[in-house]
């Protein structure tokens, strides 16, 4: 692995987005806008918004980075650039970690903006503090990026890549504890939620919302999120082959 190649890939991905002003605007405007809408949806139930808002803060970057990464990587696979890169000396890991770095950085920027709106004008309090919140959000973005890199291998068109949202992300979204406590769900759904990484990302956000002293649960949740991201990256690197059949 070469830090130079990893940084070059991360910088290239960010340059690409830098030339796409509309995508950048959507990335940074949509989450605070949706959080604001949610605030008014729950205007008669401020306590509910207080508990759901931070969880959404963790879910946005995960979903958005998943979508963008899966489409961008699919383009690499279908437009010949990956073909060219795979004949060059740079390693697959440089390429994958470059993506992960770029999108985690975007996740951080997104978290700073959306978090600023949530904790500022929308008056949500997180007892765990801003830094642990940001850390959980950045790792959620890393998870979304890694899953996008891996799952893009199974799509042959951008249309299919988008369909992975309802097929792979929505079931996790429904069972992660955002809508109802996991203990209230049917047992098979609890088992499902227990092995899905989004559950732990949302759990970490719950921890920072409710506890000023973050303990082992928070660390365990983040550890599982990071581990899931790394496993997805490794699986992603297996799907990117130097040689195709």
């Amino acid at each position: 692995m070469s830090p130079r190649n990893t940084l070059a890939t991360a910088s290239r991905v960010l340059q690409q987005l830098g030339h796409d002003h509309r995508t950048v605007a959507l990335l940074f405007v949509a989450p605070p806008m949706l959080l604001t809408v949610m605030k008014f949806v729950f205007q008669d139930k401020p306590l509910l918004f207080q508990s759901v808002g931070p969880m959404l803060l963790g879910i946005f970057p995960m979903i958005m980075m998943f979508l963008i990464t899966s489409i961008v990587t699919l383009r690499e696979r279908t437009r010949g650039t990956l073909d060219r890169l795979m004949t060059m000396p740079a390693s697959k890991i440089d390429f994958l970690f470059g993506y992960a770095l770029a999108f985690s950085f975007l996740g951080l920027c997104q978290a700073l903006i959306a978090g600023g709106v949530l904790l500022g004008p929308l008056q949500v309090t997180v007892l765990g503090g801003a830094l642990p919140t940001l850390l959980a959000v950045v790792l959620a973005a890393f998870l979304g990026t890694s899953l996008g890199l891996f799952l893009s291998a199974f799509a042959t068109s951008e249309f299919q890549a988008i369909q992975f949202m309802p097929a792979f992300i929505f079931p996790q979204l429904l069972t992660c504890g955002l809508f109802t406590a996991r203990t209230d769900m049917a047992r098979p759904l609890q088992w499902f939620a227990d092995v899905m990484p989004l559950t732990y990302s949302v759990d970490a956000m719950k921890q920072v919302t409710m506890h000023s002293n973050l303990g082992t649960d928070y660390v365990r949740d983040l550890f599982i999120v990071v581990l899931s991201g790394i496993v997805a990256l490794i699986l992603g690197s297996i799907t990117i082959r130097r040689q195709t059949k």
Binding site: Q15, D83, M88, P89, T244
Partner: protein, 241 residues
């Protein structure tokens, strides 16, 4: 005669039963321009992808400069231009070249000069700061070729590099290929254009995944008693049926 590429019984069977390459065995000389000539779907791209190591062979073996095709040691010595415009449309021309130069392993101090040289060679220096998506089809093709020129590789494998270019630019690119060859680069160029075939030192006529004839343009015309490569190709195809 030095050998750049040695292909022995190379066979590629795609998705079940399609034989994209069928028992190809050839030795391709170094420091020459070698043309892979044949109609669309003949197997030229599969052959090229096999040489650069992207295509797994079902059977057989390919060696490039004495090493197994696709091996790590070869990657610095070789460049590959795909048939698609393999450049990022949402980056400028210079940003594209800079990224690929780093990934190709060029040293930091040599990158700017290598980029300027490549852009000068493909006559795109004036467009260096334009986004690739805003260029014409032919200009995009030249960006893709410029990437392959970075770092003075020993072997350049170019899949239809002149398709879609105007005759004046094609002429200047063939002069560039001759200059690269004189500097010691081996060139492998696929094309379905017969007039370009005549510019190559050595030709492989590819059809149905097999090499149906090989030799210099003069040798092929002499063997078939014809006056053009196109006529030679047609005669060889008729006789091979």
């Amino acid at each position: 005669m030095d050998i750049a590429v040695k292909i022995k019984s190379a066979t590629v069977v795609l998705s079940g039963s399609v034989r994209a390459l069928d028992n190809v065995s050839v030795e391709l000389p170094a420091n020459k321009s070698i043309g892979f000539i044949g109609p669309s779907g003949a197997g030229k791209t599969t052959l090229i992808r096999s040489i650069v190591g992207r295509q797994k062979l079902t059977r057989g073996k390919i060696e490039v400069f004495g090493r197994v095709a696709g091996s790590k040691e070869l990657r610095k010595d070789m460049s590959y231009m795909t048939q698609e415009i393999s450049a990022y449309p949402d980056l400028t021309v210079r940003e594209n070249l800079r990224y690929f130069a780093i990934m190709a392993g060029l040293k930091k101090g040599s990158i700017t000069v290598a980029i300027d040289n490549a852009l000068r060679d493909v006559e795109l220096l004036q467009k260096a700061d334009r986004l690739v998506r805003d260029l014409s089809g032919g200009q995009k093709q030249r960006v893709s070729l410029a990437v392959a020129l970075l770092g003075s590789p020993k072997l350049m494998v170019l899949d239809e590099p002149t398709t879609g270019l105007d005759p004046v630019l094609r002429e200047s690119l063939w002069k560039l290929f001759d200059k690269l060859k004189a500097a010691g680069t081996s060139l492998m160029i696929s094309s379905h254009s017969m007039d370009e075939a005549e510019r190559c030192d050595y030709l492989l006529l590819v059809r149905g995944g097999a090499v149906i004839a090989q030799g210099s343009p003069v040798e092929l015309m002499k063997q078939t008693n014809t006056k053009s490569i196109e006529a030679a190709f047609l005669k060889i195809v008729r006789e091979s049926k």
